[in-house]
Amino acid sequence: MVELDAHPQDWARYTPGQRLFRFLVFLASVAAVVWAVMSIDVIWPWVLDAPEQMGDLFGRMVPPDFSNLSDILWVLLETVNIATIATAVAVFAALPVAYIAAQNTTPNIATLWLGRFILVSSRSVNTIIWALLFVAIFGPGIIAGIVAIMFRSIGFIGKLLGEAIEEIDRRPVEALEATGASRLKVILYAIVPQVMPTFWAVSILRWDINLRESTVLGLVGAGGIGIVLQSAIDTFNWPEAATVLLAILALVILGEIVSATLRKRII
């Protein structure tokens, strides 16, 4: 009997400490939600009203009005061009940034921090906020849009590419250094080939994301299909807004298919 007592009679999955911790985390989460619900500036009857309002809006969109379809498709193509040009430029601009932001290739500590600073500031500011700034600078239009997408993409591409550089196989680099090749040639022959697959994958991925982002640039005046959507909404032309939305949906799905195929082909 004494020996049997060594086995506990009841069983619990977690130790009391773990249970206490889990309970506290749970409590904190509930408290956060309650705080948010209690203090948020929302008129609650409106919440109950929301489904009806949405239904009403949706009702006004049906049936979509396709009379302006050719114009819409043309602007849509323009949107694709904005995304593509911006991605292409950003990809090249990101290369030196990735190079100095990778610990194993950066020339010195100052350049490392410069690289990281560029990446962090580019990444933490959303495309739309960049667009807001560049619309203020360049005026409304696609230049602001392209520059905004570029600024955001540099951080994204640079970060992933920098990580790829940090993960390369050091051994071929050592081998080429041993042949007496200069720094630039070592990069060209030992680093570039190793980073190439990531480079393509990241470029395609970012292009796909930029396609989505370029559809909203127009809402802050930075060109593309968003401008058409905004004016349709502003004039309460809901059937046309529906057409624009459908066109955007088609574009994004098509973009996803294209990028998936490209990825398979190239890598």
């Binding site: 051994r171 071929p172 007496g180 040639k185 190439m196």
Partner: protein
């Protein structure tokens, strides 16, 4: 002739890995460096072409002192030292030809390297050498499509493309199966004779070292314990190089009787 005198290498503030090493490698001899892992073999080799920076001492190749060269001069000196690696260190995603030509990178202008427009002379030499080691028909294949032995041949050709005055080989056969490693050792020996090259080989496999080299240098604790022709590497010498280490560390096919005393490391 390679001449190393009083070479010391210390990483950080720890115990030195190389403790005042002296070594001369004249003419076209094939020299094996044996010793347990951690004896400093790899560091020694990497000090010669300065992939590892020596702490003190001098290294001279054909009367040019390598140990205090910098920048461009160092790169020019490295061209004349071919190196072969344990894990081949090829660039997997490049073709065999590009890997081979990367041995010429020190000589090529940048635009030729970038555009892959190699001089005719280099291409001719590459095909000759590749045929010599039996990989010429792989020129357009990607390096990662090749077997281990073939990859090491690419490594050897890359080193020879440099038109080196000495070959350094760091465990060139450790990643290969026994049959292929014998072929590579045989190849290194015949190339040494053919090109009148001194070859310095770090090697774990003492049996191979005995068979394929003219001289064996045994290292332990960053010092040279033995330096003579293979026939003089007897049990006493082996014990001095490997004393107190488990049999598998000795790199010999035939396991010698285990020595009972354990030396304080």
């Amino acid at each position: 002739m390679l001449k190393i005198s009083n070479l010391v290498k210390r990483y950080g503030h720890g115990e030195p890995v190389l403790k005042g090493l002296d070594l001369e490698v004249p003419g076209n001899s094939v020299v094996a460096i044996i010793g347990a892992s951690g004896a400093g073999k790899s560091t020694l080799l990497r000090c010669i072409n300065r992939l590892v920076e020596p702490t003190s001492g001098t290294i001279a190749l054909n009367d040019i002192v390598l140990s205090d060269l910098k920048g461009r001069e160092l790169r020019a000196a490295r061209r004349r030292i071919g190196m072969i690696f344990q894990s081949f260190n090829l660039v997997d995603r490049l073709t065999v030809m590009e890997n081979v030509q990367s041995g010429r990178l020190g000589y090529l202008p940048f635009w030729r390297a970038a555009s892959r427009r190699y001089p005719k002379r280099d291409i001719r030499r590459a095909y000759e050498l590749m045929e010599r080691v039996g990989i010429a028909h792989y020129a357009n294949k990607r390096a990662d499509e090749l077997s281990g032995g073939e990859r090491q041949r690419v490594g050897v050709v890359r080193a020879l493309m440099q038109e080196p005055e000495i070959l350094l080989a760091d465990e060139p056969t450790a990643s290969l199966d026994p049959k292929t490693s014998e072929q590579i050792m045989e190849l290194l020996r015949s190339l040494s004779a053919e090109f009148a090259l001194p070859v310095l080989i770090n090697i774990h496999n003492v049996a191979e070292a005995r068979l394929y080299t003219d001289r064996i240098v045994g290292m332990r604790y960053g010092k040279i314990m033995f330096d003579a022709e293979p026939s003089r590497l007897d049990k006493a010498a082996m014990d001095e190089i490997y004393a107190g280490l488990p049999a598998e560390e000795r790199g010999e096919e035939e396991t010698p009787a285990p020595s009972l005393q354990v030396s304080a490391a």
